[in-house]
């Protein structure tokens, strides 16, 4: 029971980091990134490939972060001429391409089997404590970024791009900086995910993972850090509680899997209908 709780919380904080990353783009920048998981995937594969080749895991993490930031820069520039919804579809496609590459380039990525035997860094509780500390630091940094001059420019671009341009903001550069910052954070989370599971495989890059992150943001509240963390917690709790209910009520695993998704879908639907801005909506920031 204790182990279960530790692992559930660790998962929650891993997803928390990724959700904070997505919130930087989607919450503050209004960027509809539907391929966000690609950044986590690059972090995870960077780590896996480096470890497999005998390098230190930290080097692997740095490698993954650089790859993700590079991809982020490219994706931002790619979107320059696209309307935001088409850009979102392009990001989805890019993440899918990466997943197909990861599945097929077996010499590099281990193909469908993935790469195993990645060291776990710390065990159980120690890893959780590290994750919680990281999540706390990341939250503080995101808060600072969002309320500060960079976040202000980003939030203005999200709501009134024309006004932002006529103040002299370079929107392409703002976008690419937001995406790259988000990519770095998410790649770190992806790398730690690989360590925690001591494995990386193409399933990490499934589009459903991105949509899970989007669900967390939409339930909790885009553009509000407390909302984001609440969303992560609720979705992760729903995920973890269903197996309990399964044992307790005695239905089979297939049904449990379906119930999990159904429950999250129901929460999302309820939020969209009654709290369209999420449980804790973004507020106007006070300037004393």
């Amino acid at each position: 029971m204790f182990d279960f709780l530790v692992s559930a919380l660790t998962f929650a904080s891993l997803y928390g980091l990724m959700a904070l990353g997505l919130n930087l783009q989607a919450g503050y920048g209004g960027l509809l990134n539907f391929g966000h998981i690609a950044f986590a995937g690059l972090g995870a594969y960077g780590t896996g490939i480096a470890v497999q080749a005998g390098y230190s895991p930290w080097l692997g993490m740095a490698f993954g972060v650089l790859l993700a930031m590079g991809l982020g820069g490219c994706v931002a520039r790619l979107g320059r001429k696209l309307a935001s919804d088409y850009w979102g579809i392009a990001t989805l496609a890019i993440a899918e391409i990466l997943r197909v590459v990861a599945t097929n380039e077996g010499w590099l990525t281990g193909g469908a089997q993935g790469i195993g035997a990645i060291p776990t860094l710390f065990d159980g509780v120690a890893f959780l404590l590290m994750m919680l500390a990281l999540l706390g630091i990341a939250t503080l940094l995101c808060q600072r970024l969002a309320d500060g001059r960079f976040g202000r420019a980003l939030r203005l671009m999200r709501e009134e791009p024309q006004l932002a341009a006529c103040m002299g903001y370079d929107l392409t550069s703002l976008k690419s900086r937001a995406i790259m910052a988000s990519a770095a954070l998410t790649a770190i989370a992806g790398s730690l995910y690989a360590h925690f599971m001591s494995y990386v495989g193409p399933d990490y890059l499934l589009a459903s993972e991105t949509f899970l992150l989007w669900t967390m943001l939409m339930i909790g509240g885009l553009g509000n850090l407390r909302g984001v963390l609440l969303g992560v917690f609720l979705v992760q709790a729903a995920y973890s509680l269903v197996p309990f209910a399964k044992d307790y009520l005695g239905f089979d695993s297939d049904l449990a899997g379906a119930l999990r998704l159904g429950l999250i879908g129901a929460i999302l639907l309820a939020c969209l209908m009654w709290r369209s801005e999420g449980l804790i909506p973004e507020k106007v920031r006070k300037i004393a």
Binding site: G148, R149, L156, L163, C166, R177, K283
Partner: protein
């Protein structure tokens, strides 16, 4: 372009069409440093489009635009702003999740990098402090203090116009283009606006103002440029407008007397 250095803004033979609609045909005019130029013309004559072309929000089909000696007609909007041209919009729309003061502070674009923001470098803190002081002062000057902490989208149309002007003035531009600044603004406030614009002009700011209110134009503008169907038809002092045949023709189709112009339009 030997004369371009003498003028702050020089627009030469600018043309712009939307599909088959030739909005600007062959627009040429110059603005000298220190002038307040009124840009007049009937609705749909292309005034806002001209401002959009000058500020890089629309690409010109042909012609040249220069700020001082620098050609700007191919630059992106944010670059043109950085060279010293600020503007407001005819129908400003403002963000819902930012307060009036925050929007005004956002108009100061110095030091907004990711690392600078994360580290809170001294240069950034200074920029933030200056932006705040300046935003407070301009908000006070344009009588927006009572709504300082409201979401900017909650302002009335006239207040949004004033906030747009605040934003335009934040960067200390050389040249400001105002698109119908008094439309929707309360008459009492109009006087304050006239005073504020004259004060800024006395400090060296050059202004181009699209406006329909004749009293405002007479009070503020040193010269008027009249646009009709995509061409400049007159450039004269405000008090000479009513006796300018081409202006009367532009507004009234040539069927009315100068008195009619005085009474109705522009």
């Amino acid at each position: 372009m030997s004369t371009s250095r003498e003028y702050l803004l020089s627009v030469q033979s600018v043309a712009k069409a939307f599909g088959g609609n030739q909005v600007l045909r062959d627009v040429s005019f110059n603005v000298q440093r220190g002038e307040i130029v009124g840009l007049l013309g009937p609705n749909g004559s292309g005034k806002s489009t001209l401002l959009n072309c000058i500020t890089g929000f629309e690409a010109v089909d042909g012609g040249a635009i220069a700020l001082g000696a620098r050609r700007i007609e191919r630059l992106q909007a944010h670059r043109i702003v950085r060279h010293g041209i600020a503007r407001t919009f005819q129908l400003p729309s403002m963000p819902t999740k930012m307060s009036v003061i925050e929007v005004a502070m956002a108009a100061c674009t110095r030091q907004h990098g990711v690392l600078a923001t994360l580290l809170g470098l001294p240069a950034l803190r200074r920029a933030e402090e200056q932006a705040r002081a300046k935003a407070e002062r301009l908000i006070d000057e344009l009588l927006l203090s009572p709504v300082r902490d409201l979401p900017a989208s909650a302002l009335s149309g006239g207040q949004k116009k004033l906030l747009g002007i605040v934003c335009a003035l934040m960067g200390e531009p050389e040249l400001v283009l105002l698109d119908e600044p008094t439309a929707g603004v309360h008459p009492n406030l109009r006087r304050d606006l006239v005073e504020a614009l004259k004060r800024l002009n006395a400090q060296g700011m050059t202004l181009v103002i699209v406006e329909h209110d004749m009293h405002f134009i007479r009070d503020v503008c040193s010269r008027c440029v009249v646009l009709d169907r995509g061409e400049i038809v007159a450039s004269c002092r405000p008090d000479k407008l009513a006796s300018n045949a081409r202006v009367i023709q532009a507004y009234l189709g040539g069927r009315h007397s100068p008195q009619a112009l005085e009474e109705n339009a522009p």
